[in-house]
Point group: C2
Chain length 203, copies 2
């Protein structure tokens, strides 16, 4: 299998962490240079028509797009340690927290960054007012999740899961890109620090 | 189990269709009147702190929030007919198409509706310019998915899946709420018509 990845973007990083947690080392990693728009070239568009990384190419030539789809495929092949839960309640909990983290926390912070940051002006049809409103919602969500995480080590239950990869990777990127300081959210700061101490996060 | 639902919103409808496909009939349905803001009352906030429907209350009092999490829990309990795939490739395909439908198609159309429709003016901090830009992206996505669906009966492969529930339910709501006509997208129109002929869609 070949993983089309990038050293800059958070999405492929999530797959690399996922692979490292499972100690899978026999997948070929092909790094695209997004700065030089390698993901927009015809060779890559033939693989990923939506021009996004990551993409997973199987040995029979099939392509899997979308980070979570790639990770679920890898979970089927390498089930241990499980990252999407085992019991019905664990499975529901990982999905629930993945969704809540994504829609309540990551989405407004991502919009806040994409619509206000000068670095994104060429890549996004920026709407500054919308970006500022989303950033404000993101700050509220940071406070909410700071409370949620106060009483737990992992976001979705007793074990490290895919929801933690989603939460820690995105907080690490998006908080500073919104010109915020994670240290202003004590429990989230402790959480992200602790998650990033995992060997898988140094990929 | 009790399902907190609503007769107006697309998200609880997805769970009701999911249950009907599996012929599960022993879950108590509690309909909230969103127009009268029943989902904002303290009784419901104690169940769903994010004030959203659906929510699933288990017999032991545990709560599962988020539509997809509820459906994955129900899939564990009632695995047949499966809606999230069985083989590694099916599982990946349902997740991939669920994600592509959600991010490429549903998200811009939902933003287009929420930020431009007069009915949403009290519920959303509307940004008309952003809404119009998103609607335009949504129209492009409708054309893209009109091509994608031309050669297939179901969006994620050979079988009806959760990705079809996501796609058909949202198209049925969001196309007209963006003041568009699904009939202008011939293949999508045939697809939605065919999916809505399933008995589960008349819940």
């Amino acid at each position: 299998m070949k993983l089309y990845s990038s050293k800059l973007a958070p999405s492929p990083l999530k797959v690399l962490i996922f692979l490292a947690e499972k100690k899978v080392e026999d997948i070929e990693i092909i790094n695209l240079n997004l700065g030089e728009l390698e993901h927009k070239k015809p060779e890559y568009l033939a693989i990923a028509p939506n021009s996004r990384v990551p993409a997973l190419e199987l040995d029979d030539g099939s392509i899997i797009l979308e980070t979570t789809a790639i990770c679920r495929y890898l979970e089927s092949l390498y089930p241990e340690p499980n990252m999407f839960g085992k019991s019905p309640m664990e499975i529901a909990s990982v999905e629930m927290w993945y969704s809540r983290v994504t829609y309540e926390l990551v989405s407004p912070l991502a919009h806040g960054f994409r619509h206000t940051h000068p670095h994104m002006s060429k890549m996004e049809n920026q709407n500054h007012e919308f970006g500022l409103a989303q950033r404000e919602i993101g700050v509220k969500a940071l406070n909410t999740f700071d409370e949620i995480i106060a009483s737990r080590k992992f976001v979705a239950g007793n074990n490290f899961s895919y929801a933690d990869i989603q939460m820690a990777v995105n907080l690490n990127f998006l908080v500073r890109l919104n010109r915020l300081d994670i240290k202003d959210f004590k429990n989230l700061n402790e959480y992200v620090t602790q998650i990033f101490e995992r060997p898988s996060f140094s990929v």
